[in-house]
Amino acid sequence: MHDIHDIEEAERMGRARSRIFFVLAMVFFAGQSAYFASSPATRDSHARIGAWLILVILILLLLATGGFLLKGRRVRDLLNDETVRMNRLAAQATGFWVTIIATLVVYVESIFDPVSFNEAVHIIVTLGVGAALISFAVRERRAHRLG
């Protein structure tokens, strides 16, 4: 049996997580919009590509683990209970379908207007990872709102 304090802490942290993930998704998409709006000459600096790559890895890590890796096991288990795991699976499925559709769109687009390999990967990964993150955040927010 868990302590009521653990339940309340997990509740508070779960709500915070859904808000943080939503904001992170918005920041991620805004950053990538600015990236694609900039001129190709300045776009592909190592710093910008590196920042994008770090953010993508961070988001994938958050989606895979649910975050809060430094919290105690009892609270972490509550933060990744059955509903969270279902929401995460559904979010990963959303990310998968967005990735496939984005790949097909980029493929067709490249027939008319050549897209570099790096650009294609950047677009596809950004959309797939971003969609999974926002899908998870929205599902979690909706579940918390019911309470």
Partner: protein, 68 residues
Amino acid sequence: MADALLNRLREARDAKGWTQAELAARVGVSRKTINTVENRVFTPSATLAIKLAEALDLSVEQLFWIDR
């Protein structure tokens, strides 16, 4: 169309005089999970359904049934 799984979780919990958080603590899930099961937003796994029934001293069939 998929059959809907109905439950009397809220009534059974109220009969025990427990809050959602208290039931969550006994079963080892978050309060949100109890709430989404009560509101039929989330269909629990067989494992969770058994744990809920055990915590409330009911059989799974008394707690959950299919709306046909």
